[in-house]
Symmetry: C2
Subunit: 373 residues, 2 copies
């Protein structure tokens, strides 16, 4: 097995931890944020740039790659790493989340899920076994079981059905996965129900995986509820395995979740909001379109040492954003990803020094205004 996880240190004052994942394509220090390369490219960024700003591992979406260009083609290309020229670790999701969130019509049975392609409306049927086969072809270092993510709000009995089905699918995924090079993670579901989360976590752990995704959060539930249930959920997961909070990526939530013992994050948020003109800066969010930046010749964030903040002014970025230059999307994306990587890097150092809570409170105290939820 090419994969291992070493828990190196837990902050003395909270559950925040630093660790080390070893994968077939190299080492990943945790906590870690995985930028999303939906269709085999992290939007606007080149692989070299991602490395330069500190990306250790990226996530790519099985759903999109399965539809275009197709997993067979990527296999023929020598796998996703070679296809997209990324030689560091990759995680692929199972495709389930996109089926449920993007598709207008899908039908779940115990056997699998029937869905229509968002591209051409064609019908497809995805089973746990196929999710593994596709991910085997893509060749990511970490792959995920096919799960059923309940929307919020959902009737509890439907959430329970989804938990049961996710457990059955997890067993089938594990059974059909044979690659030594790829680590298969289980996924905990259960919505906002403590008892279902406990049940899901305990039974997923019972099946046994080298790491655990925590799915079904940040789907519309109240923010405080998420952290309460998240803390509870993590308590049922083994300490010596990575904890991956799926789909959360705003700065304050990342810090809160790290404080509860989360090791891995992914989210389109930093890249998506950049393309809408919004960046994270140390004092909160900033929208580059605002006219107040028209003659501001200072950097996006005076406290940031990224390439963008060292070389371009708000006035310039606003100008090129407003006239529609692609360079604007690139530079804002660059800054946002750097901001998140740098934040987590500093969080890791604080954890090592047992001062994570101070670090978190200081950051959040400075970061004014509403964060994304």
């Amino acid at each position: 097995m090419a994969f291992s996880f070493e828990l190196k240190h837990t902050d003395r004052n909270c559950s925040a931890r630093v660790g080390k994942m070893v994968t077939a394509h190299g080492v990943v220090d945790t906590p870690v944020f995985m930028p999303v390369g939906t269709r085999a490219a992290v939007k606007t960024m080149s692989p070299d740039e991602l490395k330069k700003i500190g990306a250790q591992i990226i996530l790519s979406n099985t759903y999109h790659l399965y539809l275009r260009p197709g997993h067979e083609l990527i296999k023929e290309a020598g796998g996703l790493h070679k296809f997209m020229n990324w030689d560091r670790p990759i995680l692929t999701d199972s495709g389930g989340f996109q089926i449920f969130s993007l598709g207008e019509t899908f039908k779940i049975t115990d056997e699998g899920v029937n869905f229509k392609s968002i591209i051409d409306g064609s019908s497809h049927f995805l089973t746990p076994e196929m999710a593994i086969e596709i991910q085997n072809d893509l060749g990511a270092d970490i792959i995920m079981v096919l799960d059923e993510c309940s929307p919020y709000p959902s009737e509890k009995k439907h959430v329970k059905e989804a938990v049961e089905r996710t457990l059955q699918w997890a067993k089938r995924c594990k059974k059909s996965h044979h690659s030594e090079e790829q680590a298969l993670f289980g996924i905990v579901q259960g919505g906002v129900h403590s008892d279902l989360r406990k049940y899901s976590a305990q039974n997923t752990v019972e099946i046994g995986f080298p790491g655990y995704g925590i799915g079904g959060f940040s789907v519309g539930e109240p923010h405080d509820m998420m952290f309460e249930i998240l803390e509870d959920t993590i308590s049922y997961l083994p300490e010596d395995k990575p904890h991956y909070l799926m789909g959360v990526g705003n700065p304050t939530s990342i810090l809160e979740a790290i404080g509860l013992g989360v090791d891995m994050f992914d989210c389109v948020l930093p890249t998506r909001i950049a393309r809408n003109g919004t960046v994270f800066i140390s004092t909160g969010k900033l929208n580059i379109k605002n006219s107040s930046h028209a003659k501001d010749f200072g950097p996006l964030d005076p406290n940031c040492d990224c390439y963008v903040c060292q070389n371009f002014s708000r006035a310039y970025l606003r100008h090129i954003f407003k006239v529609g230059e692609i360079l604007a999307l690139r530079l804002l994306t660059w800054h946002n990803l750097y901001f998140v990587f740098n934040l987590i890097d500093r969080a890791g150092k604080a954890i090592a020094g047992n001062s994570f809570l101070d670090f978190k409170n200081s950051f959040i105290g400075q970061y004014t205004g509403e964060d994304f939820k």
Copy 2:
């Protein structure tokens, strides 16, 4: 005066030349291609990348910058170099060409030209003096006189009027330009009429400039006619001053024009066609959208040593282009600009060895299919 030009060598077998321009922001080896940064950004590219692939000097458009973000703002930012973070030489055009080519309604008088903004339809009046003032504010190393470019075809008497007006405007531009840091180039017009080209060239030279633009080509006239008149036009220009063929940028025309004694080029072509999926390769043009590239895991051009050709396959580039990833536009632009820089670099070496004609014929012999006109 910060500007000088040194003619270093002329090929023994043709008029192709290598030279050196010294500007306020550094040295430019000629022949040279200037990528176009219309709105203070070369589309999709960062300044660092442009340097990495060999851009010595870029062109930016006065018309666009005047309208957005405004020359006063750029002056306040410390000039265009600082505003866009480009510390190598810049050339700005006068704005005239865009007024005539983009505007639906404009009215030329001897005093200047009245036009409506393509952004909001507002009315503006540009005089030769204003063209200089705006370009003084932008602070480019080389600036251009306001000229009147005749479309093709035009009645000869209209072309003659445009030549006369361009001469009058050139005098007024020269008179109102006082910056020692910026070299003001004259522009030769005259359409496809040998006698008018001769008249325009001789009288522009009479006014006296440190360099000469040759305008009004590649506006729809037959291709062969362009080279015939171009050769004739250059014969009336001083040998010891740079010859700048405005708006021409396809590989075969660049080589033909270099052979006639052209030193400088600019064109949106390499960047524009890249965003439509077309690249130059040594055997001709290639459209990445073609299905024949779907499973082609080789590079765009096996003979190219650019970052794109060294790291990405046609299959990958086709995939990311077809799904609309910005990275595709970046990588194709990167390759096309590198292709042109590399072509001119090799042309310069061939000139130094008096073998330019062989080089040109060998390139054109390999480059099959129609080139852009």
